[in-house]
Symmetry: C2
Subunit: 448 residues, 2 copies
């Protein structure tokens, strides 16, 4: 059987954690893949500047190549796998490969969030495809769910836990009652956070992923710079604990919803109910909830990072290209971002949410009344108030103490909420800036 199978030659550019795992699968599992896919996948080049990682994995060193031009001028090669990362070199490599008539498979969400539409268009101009299952959710086939499994749906909303580093840190903060700094350290010491974790913990990586998913799900082009992003790096342990007291769990959510005729995107830490399907997604796992007008709630769960899981997604794209399925999706369907005009997002200030607000107030009569009246003046209703009794640490001390007042609010327009909180924080009776966290409810299902 293998003799008559079509052979497709592949170059993997960038042999780090994911690249190494892709090469391992292509080499070690070649018979399995040939049997399953009906196509023989031949790894012809491993391209990098140095091969320390590749040598550690004992990859076949006859495949090592430092000169990308050799690869791009080799007519044998039909798929280039870009696993360099970043948006500079990776962009150049991707453009060169597409112009050379090579299909490109990438795991690079930053590249696609910033330049996806133009790169997809460039692929089309050159009669090839650009595939990116690995860019969101590691080994979870979520991109396929959006372009294939859910194709009959108008997608109403996406809620994703799409950054394993953040989810691990939050799980540590919740389960071990650690501070953000302690939990970050724990993540770093296990190799789950980079030395410079800012892309992860500031929410930017999650924003890349939701921009990409939203583009596919809604058939729009997203201007990444418009996506409001807030990470977990400002999150305080107190708020994680109050979430628990109130029956919630804090998760960093990447959210895309329809708001009227528009689309709203945002990344932020959120309180979600312990009944919510995303609430139990813990440690480094990822999960994405997609609400379709026909399916209702569907959810996709798995390892969102790591060599082998991400390599699984990369190799599924290579097989999709080799077997002709992905080119058919790519050519036929209308919702690829390059086929849709840029769309203004609904400003987050115009959206409505429930909120949690923790304000430090002087433990003096009337403070709560003033806060309540400010919310009222902005048309915002209070749902619950939690004010602990002041611990009598100082005995008969007569000075006022700052105590936390924890308030949950009924749905409010975000602009109104922010104005109200600014007014509250300007009161003499309040201390440091209030903590404000969105409460995300189960998205309504309109199945039928």
């Amino acid at each position: 059987m293998s003799v008559s199978q079509p052979v497709i030659s592949i170059a993997v550019v960038g042999c780090g954690t994911v690249g190494g795992a892709v090469c391992e699968i292509l080499l070690r599992d070649r018979e399995l893949l040939a049997t399953r896919s009906g196509v023989r996948l031949q790894l012809k080049y491993i391209v990098d500047r140095n091969f320390d990682a590749a040598k550690n994995l004992r990859l076949d060193d006859t495949l090592f190549e430092t000169n990308l031009d050799h690869v791009l001028t080799d007519d044998d090669v039909s798929v280039v796998v870009e696993l360099v990362g970043g948006t500079t070199t990776a962009r150049t490599i991707t453009e060169q490969a597409l112009r050379a008539g090579k299909h490109v498979v990438t795991a690079n969400k930053a590249l696609l969030a910033h330049h996806g539409a133009e790169l997809l268009a460039l692929a089309r101009e050159n009669g090839v495809t650009l595939a990116f299952e690995a860019a969101v959710g590691g080994g979870i086939p979520i991109v396929r769910a959006l372009y294939d499994g859910l194709v009959a749906n108008t997608v109403d909303a996406i809620y994703g836990i799409v950054n394993g580093t953040c989810n691990f840190i939050l799980t540590e903060m919740i389960e071990k009652e650690q501070s953000y700094e302690e939990a970050l350290w724990a993540a770093q010491s296990r190799g789950l956070a980079e030395a410079d974790p800012s892309l992860d913990v500031q929410g930017v990586d999650s924003a890349h992923k939701i921009a990409l998913m939203a583009a596919m799900a809604f058939g729009i082009q997203v201007d990444f710079d418009e996506v409001p992003v807030q990470g977990i790096d400002q999150l305080e342990q107190d708020d994680v604990m109050y979430a628990d007291t109130l029956g919630y769990v804090v998760k960093l959510l990447a959210i895309a919803t329809r708001v009227g005729n528009g689309i709203s995107l945002r990344v932020r830490p959120a309180f979600i109910s312990r009944e919510h399907a995303l609430s139990w997604v813990s440690g480094p796992f990822n999960a994405i909830s997609v609400y379709g007008h026909a399916t209702g709630h569907t959810m996709y769960y798995g390892r969102g990072a790591g060599g082998a899981p991400t390599a699984s997604a990369v190799v599924s794209d290579i097989i999709g290209i080799a077997s002709g399925t992905y080119p058919a999706f790519f050519e036929r369907f209308a919702f690829w971002p390059d086929r849709n005009p840029p769309q203004k997002l609904v400003p987050v200030e115009e959206t409505y949410s429930r909120f949690y607000v923790r304000t430090m107030v002087d433990d003096t009569p009337g403070a709560l009344a003033r806060i309540a009246s400010i919310f009222g003046a902005h048309g915002i209703s209070i749902a619950s108030v939690l004010q602990d009794e002041l611990p009598e640490i100082n005995g008969g001390d007569q000075e006022p103490h700052l105590v936390p007042v924890v308030i949950t609010l009924h749905p409010a327009r975000e602009a109104n909420l922010l104005s109200a909180v600014a007014e509250i924080d300007a009161l003499d009776a309040t201390g440091e800036a209030s903590a404000v966290i969105t409460i995300v409810d189960e998205h309504p299902e309109n199945v039928g």
Copy 2:
């Protein structure tokens, strides 16, 4: 754009809950679907014996057709959607349609579990395809995950909650402390269980689905009659409560695992830890955990039944056929059941599991010792014992009472376990037959 789009004509055969929803989507969402898929889906016939349901939905009555032959001889029609159900008429319709050169889309797991391989082969002989995303997990794109998203994986195991009726009943039994009969009644009164619920509650429907998933995942042909099936209809409320006491939740699981070089399939109620990702899947929802050698644990969650969710899957198959993607998968890949020889399953007696055993014993000295020694004689270690104190209902009554002894066991070969329990149940000191329930642990992940 719509003028130049290819048009594909469709006949829906069987206009019940799912058929009606498919027709609704095809008619109501025709512009959406045309835009997204690049193909115009034209519903040309609604075939049934009576059209009461169709009329209730106000479907276009010019499409009603009672004579299937008219449809099969209409060269315009390229896709027949079989939603009749069952394995008799549905089989005839499917065979006739395939022989007439029509692609067939079906939601019929019973038909595929019993005759899948021959029907797939018949499709191939006639140059068409047979698609069945809707046969497992309703709107969850799990069949696609198996043939596409996870294509680069050796699948190690599948654990599914794939029957919403059973899961609803179990959730009622757990949350409302109802008996099986009470919970079944609740399901029936909400339209979540049939008047004759036996296919669901006896586990047969779940067995159909795991047979189908296993065939795709492992690239084997399964003899359905070999699959050991146990439902929830014998489950006692006491055991549901003891599960809770021990930190578990009872779920009806459809399980497919590799055992040595073989494959083991089974359907049975199981205790799973509250930490397990499947434990929180409640009410009528379905979820399927798939463990790949590269991805590790992935899970797919959503509504496993109902008109619109199942119709979403049916329509995604129609679009897959219309856009040429599904034919490419169907022709290229090796793991379709008709391309693999029948495989003997590993006998369930040869498999190893942890077990929960509840035995009713005389509250007399030495009963527990005898039970423990029987397990020991069969090479089975006891992990925990729970024996409540006897409630002193009868005051000074000297007669022996039957009290429950709840034992959990370390992994044991099922044949040994069953022999031991048979011996225990034959003791004079024991009452009715012991309850035996498998404890299912998180499947080990070998990522990398």
